[in-house]
C-alpha cells in the first residue's frame, strides 16, 4: 500500500537548497519577512537569556544551604509596575516591526505582470498559466511551478476539495487554499533555482506526499515557455 517514497524523491531530492532559507530567502517578500524573523529572534534571545539569568541566579543564590533564613515580603510595588510597563513597550515595538514587514508582503499589485492560477486538490496541484497552459500533478509525479526571475507573479489560489496550504519554505511563505474562496498573493523570486514546495495544512491520507517544486527561470526562458504554450520547458 505504501508508495515507494525512495523512487518518488530520489531523482531530485539532493538538488534542493537546504537550511539557507532563513538566512537567504529566494524572494523579495521573503527578504522582508527575514527582517521580521531577525528582530524577533534577537528580541527572543535577549528576553530569554535575561529571564533564564534571573531564574538561575535565584536558584543558585537562594538555595537552602546558602540562604537558610528566607526574607518574608510579598511584593514590591515599583518593580511590579516596571515589569508590566517594560513588556508592554517591547510588544508595542514588536507590533510595529510586524506591521512594517506584513504590509508589503500582503500587497498585491492591481495589474500584475504575470498571473498563475493554483488549484490544490487531494493530493496534488494544478497550475494554470496565461495562454491556457495547464500542469496537473499526482502525488507520485509532483508538478513543477515555473516562475520568472525578478518579476512579481500573482498567485490565485483555491482548492477543489478540502483546505490545503501552499508552502514554499525558500520563500518563507505559505497561504491556505480554501474551497469556495480565492486567495491572492504575490511572489517575486530573486534567484534562479529549484525549490521545494508542499501542502502544509493536513488534508487526509496522503497529505505527506502532496508536494511540488518551484523552478525559478530567467525571464526569456519563461517567455518562451508561455509563447510555445508549454512545449519549450525551461
Amino acid at each position: 500500500m505504501l508508495p515507494d517514497a525512495t523512487i518518488f524523491y530520489a531523482p531530485y531530492g539532493y538538488r534542493f537548497e537546504t537550511m539557507r532559507w532563513l538566512l537567504d530567502p529566494a524572494s523579495v517578500q521573503g527578504v522582508t519577512m527575514r527582517g521580521d524573523w531577525y528582530v524577533f529572534l534577537i528580541a527572543a534571545a535577549c528576553v530569554g537569556l535575561f529571564v533564564y539569568g534571573c531564574i538561575f541566579w535565584c536558584i543558585f543564590a537562594y538555595r537552602r544551604s546558602r540562604n537558610p533564613q528566607p526574607a518574608q515580603f510579598s511584593g514590591n510595588k515599583p518593580l511590579e509596575v516596571l515589569y508590566v510597563v517594560i513588556p508592554l513597550l517591547i510588544v508595542i515595538g514588536l507590533f510595529i516591526v510586524t506591521m512594517i514587514a506584513e504590509i508589503p508582503v500582503d500587497r498585491v499589485a492591481a495589474d500584475p505582470a504575470n498571473k498563475v492560477g493554483v488549484i490544490a486538490f487531494r493530493w496534488s496541484w494544478r497550475f494554470d498559466y496565461p495562454g491556457g497552459i495547464t500542469t496537473i500533478g499526482t502525488p507520485f509525479a509532483p508538478p513543477t511551478l515555473y516562475l520568472p526571475l525578478r518579476e512579481a507573479t500573482e498567485i490565485d489560489l483555491t482548492s477543489a476539495d478540502v483546505t490545503h496550504s501552499f508552502w514554499v519554505p525558500a520563500f518563507l511563505f505559505k497561504r491556505d487554499a480554501i474551497p469556495g474562496m480565492q486567495n491572492l498573493f504575490a511572489i517575486t523570486p530573486t534567484r534562479v533555482g529549484t525549490f521545494r514546495g508542499r501542502c502544509a495544512q493536513f488534508c487526509g491520507l496522503d497529505h505527506a506526499l502532496m508536494t511540488f517544486q518551484v523552478k525559478v527561470v530567467p525571464d526569456p526562458a519563461y517567455e518562451r515557455f508561455i509563447a510555445s504554450r508549454g512545449v519549450e520547458v525551461p
Binding site: 505504501l2 517514497a5 524523491y9 531530492g13 539532493y14 537550511m19 522582508t32 521580521d36 524573523w37 527572543a44 530569554g48 534571573c54 531564574i55 536558584i59 537562594y62 538555595r63 537552602r64 540562604n67 533564613q69 528566607p70 526574607a71 518574608q72 510579598s74 511584593g75 514590591n76 518593580l79 511590579e80 515589569y83 510588544v91 508595542i92 514588536l94 507590533f95 510586524t98 514587514a101 506584513e102 508582503v105 500582503d106 476539495d161 478540502v162 483546505t163 496550504s165 508552502w167 519554505p169 505559505k174 491556505d176 480554501i178 474551497p179 469556495g180 474562496m181 491572492l184 508542499r198 501542502c199 502544509a200 493536513f202 487526509g204 491520507l205 496522503d206 497529505h207 505527506a208 506526499l209
Partner: protein, 524 residues
C-alpha cells in the same frame, strides 16, 4: 469498588479523575512513541499513512481533552474544597455525573480504533470539510465527535460546580483575597470554560448535522463556509489553551512559594494577570488562521502580543517568590523549575508566532510542533508531575521516593528537550506537521533521529514515575507509618488536615486570619 463507583466525595472523584487522566496519558504516550518510531528515519514504512493519521489524531485529542485539561479539573476537584475549608464541592452528585461522562467520553473516542476504517484520522482540529468527506466519514470520526460532545458538556458542568464552590463555600475568614492563587486560577479557568466550550459543543453539533442530517454548514458547494468551522473551532480552541495552562500556573505558584518558604510575590498582580490572560484569550483565536487570508491579521496579532504581558507578570512573580527565599529542591520544586525553563521557550516562540510574517513560514510546520509542546508538555505536563509529587502524600498518605523522583525529573527534562529542540529546526527546513513520511534531504533525517532518541529518554523518565508510585505504595503498606499532615511545610488549608483527609475533610478548622493559615497555626 462499588463504593468508588457510587461516591460523591470530591476527593475520591478528584482521584478518579487523575487516575483516569493518567491512564489516558499512558495510552497517548504510547501513541506518541509510535509517531516517533515512524519518523525516526526518512521514508520509513513502519506505519501506513492511515495508521499514522489515526495515531497522531488520537495522540493530540487524548492529550488535550483527556489528559492536560481534565487533570487540572480533577486536581481542582480534590484541592478546592480542602484549600477553602469546605466539606465538599457545591454539587457533589453533578460532580460524579461529570466525572462518569468524562470517563465514558474517553472510552468512546478510543473505541474508534476498533471500528471498521479505524479511529478518527483528521487531526485533533478535525477541520471541515476534511472531516466530512472520504476518510473523515467513518464511524471513528463519529465516535470522536460524540466523545468530544460528552467531554465538552462534562467540562462545562465541572466548571460551573467549581466556580460556585469557590464563591459560596469558603470557610469563615477565608475571604476572596485570602484564597490560594490556585483557586483564583481555577475561577479564571472556569470562566473561560463557560465562555469557550459552548462554541465547541455547537461546532461539533453542526458537524454532526452536516454529516448525518444533510446540513451544509461547511460545504462551499451549497453556500457553506469552511472558514466558519475554523472560527467556531478556534473560538473554543484558543481559550482551551489557557484552560490547559491556568490551573498549572496555580500549581507552580503554590509549589514555588512552599519550597522557597516565602509568601507569594505580588498576589494581587497574579490574580489580575490570570483574568487579563482569560479576558485577552477570548480575542486571539484567529491567530491560528493568519494564513487563511480571511481574517484581520493586525488585530489578532496585536491582541496576541498583549497576552504576553500578563504571562510575563506571572514569570516575574514566580522569580520574585524565589528571590531572597530559602529554596529546597525537592522533586516538586525541580519540576516547577523545569516548568519555568520550558514554558519560557514556549512563551517566547509564541510571541514570535503572533507576528503574521513569521507565522507565514512557521505555521503548520514542525516549528509549531516545537512551540506548543513547550507550552503544553514542557509546561503543563511538568507542572502536572510537580502536582503529583507535591500532593501525592495528601491524596494517599504515601510519600513518593525522593531519589527516584529526582531521576524521574532529570530523565524527563533531558528527554523532553532532546526531543523537541530539533523540531524547531525541522520546521525551518520545511518539514510540515502531520506527515507520516519525509524525504531524506537537508538535516531532516538526523534531526528526527535525535528527536526519537530524546523521546525514548522521556518515556523512561515517565516509567520511573510509575515505578516510584509502585515501590512507594508497596513500601508504605509494609511499614504502616502514617505520613505527617504537612510533610512539605505547606501553607494552605489542605495541610492542616490529616493525610489522607477524613471524609468531611476537617476534624476542626484552624482560624483563618491571613493567606497562610497553616503557618499562623504553627507560629501561634
Amino acid at each position: 469498588m462499588i463504593e468508588w463507583m457510587t461516591t460523591t466525595d470530591h476527593k475520591k472523584i478528584g482521584i478518579m479523575y487523575m487516575v483516569a487522566t493518567m491512564t489516558f496519558f499512558v495510552i497517548a504516550g504510547i501513541l506518541a512513541m509510535l509517531i516517533r518510531a515512524q519518523l525516526a528515519r526518512p521514508e520509513n514504512d513502519f506505519l501506513s499513512a492511515h495508521a499514522y493519521n489515526q495515531i497522531f489524531t488520537l495522540h493530540g485529542t487524548a492529550m488535550i481533552f483527556f489528559v492536560i485539561a481534565p487533570f487540572g479539573l480533577g486536581l481542582a476537584n480534590f484541592l478546592v474544597p480542602l484549600q477553602i475549608g469546605a466539606p465538599d464541592v457545591a454539587y457533589p452528585r453533578l460532580n460524579a455525573t461529570a466525572f462518569w461522562m468524562f470517563a465514558l467520553a474517553g472510552i468512546v473516542v478510543f473505541s474508534g480504533f476498533a471500528m471498521y476504517g479505524g479511529a478518527a484520522a483528521t487531526g485533533w482540529t478535525a477541520y471541515a470539510p476534511l472531516s466530512e468527506i472520504a476518510e473523515g466519514t467513518g464511524a471513528g470520526q463519529d465516535l470522536w465527535l460524540l466523545g468530544l460532545l460528552l467531554a465538552s458538556v462534562s467540562t462545562i458542568l465541572t466548571a460551573l460546580n467549581l466556580i460556585v464552590t469557590i464563591f459560596l463555600f469558603r470557610a469563615p475568614g477565608m475571604t476572596m483575597w485570602r484564597i490560594p492563587i490556585f483557586e483564583w486560577e481555577i475561577v479564571a479557568t472556569a470562566v473561560l470554560i463557560l465562555m469557550a466550550f459552548p462554541s465547541l459543543t455547537a461546532v461539533l453539533a453542526m458537524l454532526l448535522i452536516d454529516r448525518h442530517l444533510g446540513g451544509h454548514f461547511f460545504d462551499p458547494a451549497f453556500g457553506g463556509n469552511p472558514i466558519l468551522y475554523q472560527h467556531l473551532f478556534w473560538f473554543f480552541g484558543h481559550p482551551e489553551v489557557y484552560v490547559m495552562i491556568l490551573p498549572y500556573f496555580g500549581i507552580i505558584t503554590e509549589v514555588v512559594a512552599t519550597f522557597s518558604r516565602k509568601p507569594v510575590f505580588g498576589y494581587v498582580g497574579l490574580v489580575i494577570a490570570a483574568f487579563a490572560i482569560a479576558g485577552l484569550s477570548i480575542g486571539v483565536w484567529a491567530h491560528h488562521m493568519f494564513t487563511t487570508g480571511a481574517v484581520n491579521n493586525p488585530f489578532f496579532s496585536a491582541v496576541s502580543f498583549l497576552i504576553a504581558v500578563p504571562t510575563g507578570v506571572k514569570f516575574v512573580n514566580w522569580i520574585g517568590t524565589m528571590w531572597k527565599g530559602s529554596i529546597e529542591f525537592s522533586t516538586p520544586m525541580l519540576f516547577a523549575v523545569g516548568f519555568m525553563l520550558n514554558f519560557l521557550i514556549g512563551g517566547i516562540t509564541g510571541v514570535m508566532l503572533a507576528s503574521p510574517p513569521i507565522d507565514y513560514d512557521a505555521h503548520d510546520s514542525y516549528f509549531i510542533v516545537n512551540h506548543f509542546h513547550y507550552t503544553l508538555a514542557g509546561g503543563s505536563m511538568f507542572a502536572l508531575f510537580a502536582a503529583l509529587y507535591f500532593w501525592f502524600p495528601k491524596m494517599f498518605g504515601v510519600r513518593l521516593n525522593e531519589t527516584l523522583g529526582k531521576w524521574c525529573f532529570a530523565l524527563m527534562f533531558a528527554g523532553f528537550n532532546v526531543t523537541f529542540i530539533p523540531m524547531a529546526f525541522m520546521g525551518l527546513e520545511g518539514m510540515a506537521r502531520r506527515v507520516y513520511t519525509y524525504p531524506n534531504i537537508a538535516h531532516l533525517g538526523l534531526l528526527n533521529a535525535i528527536a526519537t532518541g530524546g523521546s525514548v529518554i522521556l518515556a523512561i523518565g515517565v516509567m520511573v514515575f510509575f515505578a516510584d508510585v509502585a515501590t512507594s505504595v508497596f513500601a508504605a503498606a509494609r511499614r504502616r507509618v502514617p505520613v505527617a499532615a504537612n510533610p512539605w511545610g505547606g501553607y494552605s488549608l489542605e495541610w492542616a488536615t490529616t493525610s489522607p483527609p477524613p471524609e468531611f475533610n476537617f476534624e476542626e478548622l484552624p482560624p483563618i486570619r491571613s493567606r497562610r493559615p497553616v503557618l499562623d497555626t504553627v507560629n501561634s
